[in-house]
């Protein structure tokens, strides 16, 4: 049994919040709920949870605004973004703002519980679609400015492709003959590149959501 994790749900639909709450496993304790950016920032700072489950779209701003408001005060709080829309610019923008993962709202309760634990442990969580976007963004033939940040290694590509194909970390590990820990390391490394790379696609997607 994993250690219990404290989370805050930031999402503007009460029904959806209730649904998530009831679906989460016993190892997750919901310590607060907020429906707007304005409510969320003080709540998260006050409750100091392990993970914030963060809707990309909120009535008074994007999920990014919550990250920007909380991070200076509580740098240890981690964010897992959640949305219905799945468009490249939403996903890329919120991850570049600092979310450690992205899942869609259709995710099962079991998978969501697993994703929260993963993010709480400091690892990254990519939905298959996000993995596809990242492969897409890093595949164009634009000149590489910073090889360390602007390019994925062959191994990272393999891992991402398997995520895109719907494999779970354990399945990826066994299919590539790696440990789960190594798979997690690769995904975290991709996350870092995703957040720091200045590749054109990434900045464009982020710019479309007015992130920069």
């Amino acid at each position: 049994m994993k250690a219990s994790r404290r989370i805050v749900i930031v999402e503007d639909h009460r029904i959806f919040r209730a649904g998530v709450r009831s679906e989460l496993g016993e190892s997750i304790e919901v310590v607060g709920e907020a429906g707007t950016v304005g409510e969320a920032i003080p709540l998260v700072i006050e409750t100091d949870p392990d993970v914030v489950l963060l809707d990309v779209h909120l009535p008074d701003g994007g999920g990014q605004a919550v990250i920007a408001g909380v991070s200076p005060e509580r740098p240890g709080v981690r964010f897992l973004a959640l949305s219905v829309s799945d468009t490249a610019e939403d996903v890329i923008a919120v991850v570049r703002a600092g979310a450690r993962g992205y899942v869609t709202k259709t995710i099962s309760g079991e998978e969501l519980t697993e994703a929260i634990h993963r993010v709480a442990d400091g690892d990254a969580v990519f939905s298959p679609r996000l993995a596809g976007f990242v492969l897409d963004a890093f595949s164009s033939g634009e000149p590489i400015r910073d090889a360390e940040l602007d390019e994925l290694t062959a191994r990272e590509r393999e891992v991402l492709r398997l995520i895109a194909r719907g494999y779970r970390y354990k399945e990826i590990a066994s299919s590539l003959h790696l440990s789960v820990k190594t798979v997690e390391t690769h995904v975290s490394s991709v996350l870092r590149k995703l957040q720091l790379s200045s590749r054109h696609e990434l900045t464009r997607w982020a710019a479309e959501r007015r992130m920069i």
Binding site: S85, T87, A88, T106, S127, P128, R129, A131, G132, F133, L135, D136, S139, R161, A164, R165, G166, Y167
Partner: protein
């Protein structure tokens, strides 16, 4: 507080002659002596100041808010005209310029009061004619003013009307667009969302059916709200796969998650891939028992790859019944005919993955 909207009343109590200067001074919050000085100065301009003073005495009410009689108003206006003529005369302008200026001023007065616009227009045109004919026998320079006067007159005649019409039309268009939008949204809500909700209420005992209905509704709404989205663009590989997935979801009540990297326009080759992928999805939905299928489509320099994966029962190929082998044949056959491959890997108890790949053709 200076009130420029209404004509001030005369102030006979503090006045010297008729209380005109005192009244104006009070209304404008200046020393009446200044006003008197101004009248005196204007009186030097061909007696304009005197005519202006008399006009003001007639036009300004005796007490605030009092209405002037018609005769008194007409007399006042006439004197005002005389004052203008006197002033223009004092400036040494030729008579016809004076006359046309006065006519134009009268025209403008009627035009902007928006009553008797025709009369205003006539006055304007007369002003132009006077200017033109007068200028005809007195030499250069002035005829140039005539077209300008005409244009100005025309503008004054039709300007306010054109302006108002344009504004009304813009507002009207706005209203129409808005009501059309409303009607479209209402129709959409009625045709799809309300129908779906009704269906869901009736079939609430069947969770599978409810999920199916709501997913279909979601998809419909999404493609309506985001028509520019990558997904559901029928003429691309990824769009066509997404559509095929939607059909499979609807037919079999499963969930199909699609991820993609890269895309190509549909042609005969990529269409074959879509059909094979559709078959693979349908198979997974029918036989695997899994309620979710993952599809990943990738287009890169090497060609097209599509992966269809489920976490269902899996199967042993050797033990597959004949009719199901036939279906597999239609996946593999389709791919090989286009120079591609279909690889099916399955482990009983762990699920199945079909990999379709079509290498890029050297062109």
């Amino acid at each position: 507080m200076v009130d420029v909207g209404t004509i001030p009343a005369r102030d006979r109590a503090n006045g010297v002659v008729a209380g005109v200067a005192a009244g104006i001074g009070r209304a404008l919050e200046v020393d009446p002596t200044l006003v008197r000085l101004l009248f005196a100065l204007l009186a030097l301009a061909g007696g304009a100041g005197i005519a202006l003073y008399l006009a003001a005495a007639l036009l300004m009410p005796d007490a605030p808010g009092e209405r002037r009689g018609r005769v008194r108003f007409a007399a006042g206006m006439t004197l005002l005209l005389l004052a203008a003529v006197a002033a223009l005369n004092g400036l040494g302008l030729p008579w016809f310029v004076q006359l046309s200026a006065v006519l134009a001023a009268g025209g403008a007065f009627f035009l902007w009061r928006e009553q008797q616009r025709v009369l205003g227009g006539v006055l304007f045109v007369t002003a132009a004619v006077v200017l033109f004919t007068g200028g005809g026998d007195s030499g250069a320079g002035v005829p140039l003013l005539t077209p300008a006067a005409f244009a100005g007159g025309l503008l004054l005649v039709v300007g306010p009307w054109l302006w108002r019409t344009a504004q009304e039309r813009a507002a009207e268009r706005m209203r129409r667009v808005r009501s059309e939008e409303r009607a479209e949204v209402a129709a959409r809500v009625h045709d799809s969302i309300l129908q779906t909700l009704a269906l869901i209420q009736r079939e609430s005992a069947d969770p599978k059916r409810v999920e199916q209905l709501s997913r279909r509704q979601e998809r419909e709404l999404r493609s309506w709200l985001f028509p520019e989205g990558e997904l559901f663009k029928d003429d691309t590989l990824v769009g066509a796969i997404a559509n095929a997935a939607a059909e499979v979801e609807e037919l079999h009540g499963v969930r199909v998650e699609i991820a993609s990297a890269g895309n190509v326009p549909l042609d005969d080759d990529s269409r074959a891939v879509v059909l094979a992928a559709r078959e693979a999805m349908a198979n997974a939905a029918r036989f695997s028992g899994a309620d979710e299928i993952s599809v990943y489509a990738e287009v890169d320099g090497d060609g097209i790859s599509v992966f269809v994966r489920d976490r269902g029962t899996g199967f042993d190929r050797a033990a597959v019944p004949l009719e199901r082998r036939g279906v597999s044949e239609s996946i593999e056959g389709r791919m090989t005919r286009r120079g591609g491959t279909a690889t099916i890997s399955s482990t009983p108890g762990q699920g199945t993955e079909v990999e379709l790949s079509l290498p890029r053709k050297a062109s």
